[in-house]
Amino acid sequence: MTEIAMELKNVSKRIRNKEIIKDVSFQIKQGEVFGFVGPNGAGKTTTIRMMVGLMKITEGDIRIVGKSIQTDYSEAIREVGAIVENPEMYPFLTGRKNLEHFARMVPGTSKDRIDEVVRLVGLEKVINDRAGGYSLGMRQRLGIAQALLHKPSILILDEPTNGLDPSGMKEIRQYIRALAEQEKVSVIVSSHLLSEIELMCDRIGVIKNGALIAVEDVEKNRKLEDSDISEYLISVSNAQAAKERLDSVDGSLFVEIADETTLKIAVKREQIPVILKELLNHNINVYEVQAAKGTLEDKFFDLIGENVIE
């Protein structure tokens, strides 16, 4: 099992009796890039603010590498580097002075580490200029540098590609992927643009009106789109037994349990009779086979309604 970097357990947020976040639960694995998508005002930033302790959690808990952000704040936040909303820095300080400022706030962050993160985000040329004169892309990178200073296990980036031009977006995307793969950092990226998120994330959580309505595996969806594989829903007598049966035959099949009597399976069309035979031969009754929705984007629009996406 991969280790869990962050876990949200039944998190709710109420402000003046209005429920802004409703019972949100999900986990983020180590080294994974997790996308957090939803229309503006769905509760992405509020959830992120609760993750970093800027907002109190009304109900539930958030654990970072096992430590509660509510009861073990210092220990938990040490593992987190974040940009919340815009990458704001002290405009009158140079890039380097800004980093030195934040380095002083976490004991044990060395001068060498500052040079290291500056190189990592590619700001060597402008690091001694005042941050007030930086372009949005440079500020975004300085923000990431600031978040990485204390070697966090989790990087939280709120709308990191917002306001960037296409080449800047691409750069940030590649950069985030590299971080996750090379430094084993888990990254949480929020955006209201699905297309953006899809390109850099392993999994995507969709939030709407404060509720998490779906968590999708991008890798799986990508495979589906690239091949003639489609997703099917199969009604069976016992989903658990059916999954075990199919896994033992072919471990590479994407088999998921949707509910007690429904299997979700991604296969080529011609494999279906084979699978059904396999199930029936082992006394698992099949009642219905149904084609499921296609691409992630279709699903996304399906989930939150096309007209609310910007």
Binding site: L54, E85, Y90, M105
Partner: protein, 288 residues
């Protein structure tokens, strides 16, 4: 602890990147040099500007059989301790800005998502404000001594003067007199800087904090006069900021003792601190 000192260092670095901070040092220097030039032009040979205006004090010298000392560096320093009033206004501004600027730039979010925690961040800012006040006061003292020495020279290194130390006029060392004056000037500085700090936290902005605190500071005697006929008047902060008058036995409101004033001031201070800290620790940091 070492983390707190790092945070204080951060605040000091930020503070000294503002042009307005350097303007404070320059304005104080101009005030002192200008004061020395005017004093040099109008002053008598002795420490008293005007024996009619300061007749009581002149009489005290006479009755104690002492000569009024000549105007030298010590007299100039003693006169310029009143600059702490001006420093109070500067510190009110600094106390408000040290909070509001973080909200203005949005950097408050980056400050608070660190292991240090909110209480430590706020404490470091509060300490930085008073450390800066100490720097300005020390700067004023040292500069006064240097300018005083250049303009007026020095007679003896430890002169005695006549001053009211709480129980009428007596002969005291000038250092004791200056020390006493500094302590009394610090009372409004501490209270009003804390008030400004608290209001800045409540409103996340500096305008209200600076305006309210400076009004309380400058209009304290007037406000006190206006409410002096009512019983509540003596529980008002403004009635106790001029602790020196109360100490010397002439309070703005009849019937307030030195001990009572100290108690009222402590209550106000504790309330300002509690409101500020609790608000800062509990409040959600949302977009603004």
């Amino acid at each position: 602890m070492s983390n707190l000192s790092q945070l204080i260092k951060n605040e000091f670095i930020k503070l000294h990147h503002y042009k307005s901070t350097w303007a404070m040092y320059i304005i104080l220097a101009i005030l002192l040099i200008g004061g020395a030039m005017i004093t040099n032009f109008v002053a008598n040979q002795n420490m008293l500007f005007d024996e009619v205006f300061q007749g009581e004090l002149a009489q005290a010298y006479q009755s104690l059989g002492l000569e009024i000392p000549t105007y030298d560096m010590w007299a100039f320093l003693s006169d310029n301790i009143s600059n702490i009033s001006f420093i109070t206004i500067l510190i009110i501004v600094v106390a408000a800005k040290i909070i509001s600027n973080e909200y203005k730039w949005g950097t408050i979010k980056l400050l608070l998502i660190r292991p240090a925690g909110r209480g430590t961040v706020l404490t470091s800012k509060y300490i930085a404000v008073f450390l800066f006040a100490a720097v300005l006061i020390l700067y004023t003292i040292i500069l006064s001594m240097i300018i005083g020495l250049i303009f007026f020279g020095v007679d003896t290194w430890n002169p005695t003067i006549v001053d009211n130390m709480g129980s009428g006029y007596t002969e005291v060392s000038i250092l004791a007199s200056i020390g006493k004056d500094i302590l009394f000037y610090l009372v409004p500085l501490i209270l009003l800087a804390t008030l400004s700090f608290m209001i800045a936290i409540l409103f996340k902005g500096s305008a209200m904090a600076i305006a309210a605190s400076i009004v309380v500071f400058l209009a304290a005697p007037v406000i006190t006069m206006l409410v002096s006929q009512y019983e509540v008047g003596k529980y008002l902060l403004t009635a106790h900021l001029d602790l020196q008058s109360i100490f010397e036995g002439s309070p703005l409101i009849e019937g307030t003792s030195f001990g009572f004033s100290i108690a009222v001031l402590i209550v106000y201070y504790v309330v300002f601190m509690a409101v500020g800290w609790l608000t800062f620790k509990k409040r959600d940091v949302a977009g603004n």
